[in-house]
Symmetry: C2
Subunit: 450 residues, 2 copies
């Protein structure tokens, strides 16, 4: 670190300056403070330098006046390269023209590490290809856009928990390493579990939550889930996070009501606490302001009629693809809940509709603006006999599911739940093109690094 | 479901009864309500039945008076088996003798599913072996003890997040699937990542958090971590959760200060919100009430002296085993922080002590009452040259760590962090013998099911 400059305040006084975060800078108007961070950008204009600093919580423009600081401080400031780490002291001053509304009249600059001019920070304001940015994800995260997305992500995950906690749900984590495949192993990551066993990375905590609802009444799990799918679309990751509430004595209708409260709660929180980040992303927040209960509800049958009316070739009995989802959701300003699907296209554990047993009591929630499915869920079979029959029909191992069948022998209750994919929710709320920006270190078909 | 009984209130009136949680039963004193849950226990005394119901939030004793209900309701109540699911209506009445302080004068009992007498709930009040209970973990979770532990676990994980959120840390999730091994692959679970690559399940998010601190200033990751260790001790799981804060411009001392604030915050929250659960577990809470900053701090050198004074054969340069940790912590009522270890026994990325470069700026936090290490952390190397040297000394692949080295080229800062193992913290705070009860579905050397 550099020596204190001659014209700066005496070291004792300097040491006492409060170290503050840029996000709180407005509280220090007119006072001398120290910030610690990195050089984000620099503009020079004769005897003035306008460095922009970032500290992870925001950006702050500094003003270095040659005549107001020692030659050493001015020289140190002037030689700063992009992303060099610094400790900067100065006086905070409100300035309406400045981004964020404040500037700092710089008194002292200490260089922690100067990025070499011969090996500069690889990400520049110029356009980079996606592969280059993904390969440098560990550095790309420092950009204002990525910073904003991951701040929104944190707000979303926190809001998911807060909502469910308030609703009386208990977080009960499901295991990641599981012994049995839900339905086939083709999309599962497999690992050797010591000498004698194979384990698979979970695709959903739901089956385990069905055990824990009988112990706690209302539960949720929230963790990473995995799918070894060779899909290469803008909506697919191989590793993604899911929040999955499950409730005992609950029906499909209860879960639809929870889903609309839950999604609305999350969007409202982001609007309240992350407005600045949404602005950085250029998100049209007028669309987000419309997200409140009730959400429109249509049956699968009605959805098929809508698709046909719009000229689609879609046939009753099929599962919606991305295009179908977009066609269905484009008429609605809020997420639309499509319910009661053909049982044949849904998972083996779905409760049939008592009115029409060929239908399953399931629901998909499709985000507006073409973002597709963000939630899938429904009511689970509570009858032992029916579940056993379905396990046999699907050629699943009865032995692997013995514990799951137990839940129907010992105090079965109607129960239901859903799962929301965090990355798809982040993608929609932030208004992003591709889910790869919604998670700190995305894992995709051709991407396991850094 | 059963028909409404003759002597019960008319169906319309019954339908209107509020459905309440047992944990909120005190708010309904003197009123008629409905609870939904399971039969936990039953005592019969002539013309009286005393069923105890559980709904996942608590226990409530009912009183069924033969003369006060219809013969059908009495018969249905009487035939209830352990863990049968029920919907029960009645009047709430304060009774000091009752566990929880309230009873219910039962008006109606509807049976949702009657557990067969021929195939009764496998877990009975009698003693079961550990293997039997672990094999029936999906049902064992319904016991009051397991219920209490996992309620405390939820409180702990929530408190961890709330503390760090309040301290200005941003949750930034680290990936689970990672390309490179930290140090060797012997304790890593490996999986084939599509055609050409191998992926490993993370042992810690720390290296990734070192990237994200430079983007956000203060971060934490919180997720499952994995160790394919063949250890079979009461402190080891193969899958466990870690919360790992990391801060830029932070030193070992900053992290010790954070660790004591953090642990104290968590314990205080549990004492505030989960007193009833700690009582269920028979936890001596007087020990927990002592947990507040500052925590005692001793150097590794001092720790070695303490061990020798106590007659241990321990030699300077060794790593503490479980017995050493117990000897060290038994003199203290609070967690003790042991710092500045021999660099040779610590990870390659640890910053050396500038005063004595043979020491690493690391800290272990040992819980009191013999619970051993709950936190490990320290300051990370910020010099590119030194980190590269260490990578070579440890025979690690420079290419695998190129992105990690980048962090020292582009704006390196002093930075530090720690990781707390959730299961060990739950074990200590609950006062448990074995970590296997601290996680819903434990994974151990010989345990991958259910």
């Amino acid at each position: 670190m550099s020596e204190p400059a001659n014209t700066a305040p005496a070291p004792a006084a300097k040491a006492a300056l409060p170290i503050v975060s840029i996000e709180n800078i407005s509280k220090w108007d007119g006072q001398e403070v120290t910030i610690r961070g990195w050089l984000y950008n620099m503009r020079e204009s004769g005897k003035l330098l306008f460095p922009i600093f970032r500290d992870g919580t925001g950006l702050l423009q500094g003003v270095v006046v040659k005549s107001a600081v020692s030659p050493e401080v001015f020289a140190r400031a002037r030689e700063l390269t992009h992303e060099s780490s610094v400790i900067v002291s100065g006086k905070v001053r409100a300035d309406k023209r400045a981004p964020g509304g404040y500037e700092m009249d710089v008194i002292d600059v200490q260089v922690v590490q100067l990025v070499s001019k011969d090996d500069p920070f690889p990400i520049t304001p110029k356009e980079h290809g996606t592969e280059f940015l993904m390969e440098h994800r560990h550095l790309w995260l420092r950009s204002q856009r990525q910073n904003a997305i991951l701040r929104v992500r944190h707000e979303i995950t926190k809001a998911c928990r807060d909502c469910l906690d308030q609703e009386g749900y208990l977080q009960v984590d499901a295991p990641i390493l599981t012994p049995a495949a839900c339905e086939g192993t083709t999309t599962l990551f497999e690992t050797q579990y010591f000498e004698n066993e194979k384990a698979y990375l979970t695709q959903s905590g739901q089956l385990y939550s069905e055990a824990t609802v009988a112990a706690f009444g209302k539960v949720y799990c929230f963790g990473p889930t995995f799918r070894a799918e060779k899909s290469k679309t803008r909506r697919h990751l191989t590793e993604f996070w899911m929040v999955e509430p499950e409730a005992a004595f609950a029906t499909l209708e209860d879960m639809m009501a929870l889903a609309e409260r839950f999604v609305s709660f999350v969007v409202k929180r982001v609007l309240e606490n992350r407005r600045r980040e949404l602005e950085t992303l250029g998100r049209d927040i007028s669309n987000l302001k419309k997200i409140e209960p009730p959400f429109p509800r249509i049956t699968y049958d009605e959805a098929v009629e809508i698709l046909k009316r719009k000229g689609s070739e879609f046939q009753w009995g099929g599962d919606f693809g991305g295009t179908d989802e977009t066609l269905l959701s484009e008429d609605f300003e809020k997420p639309v809940m499509v319910h009661r699907f053909p049982a044949a296209i849904k998972a083996f554990y779905m409760e049939p509709d008592p009115q029409r047993p060929e239908l399953a009591l399931g629901v998909d929630v499709l985000a507006p603006e073409g973002y597709g499915e963000i939630i899938g869920g429904g009511q689970r079979i509570s009858s032992y006999d029916l579940l056993l029959q379905r396990i046999k029909e699907h050629n699943l191992s009865q032995q692997a599911f013995d514990w799951y069948l137990d839940l129907r022998k010992y105090g079965a209750v109607p129960h239901a739940g859903f799962g929301m994919g965090i990355e798809r929710a982040v993608s929609w709320i932030c208004g992003l093109e591709h889910v790869r920006e919604t998670i700190p270190f995305p894992r995709m078909l051709h991407r396991l690094r850094p």
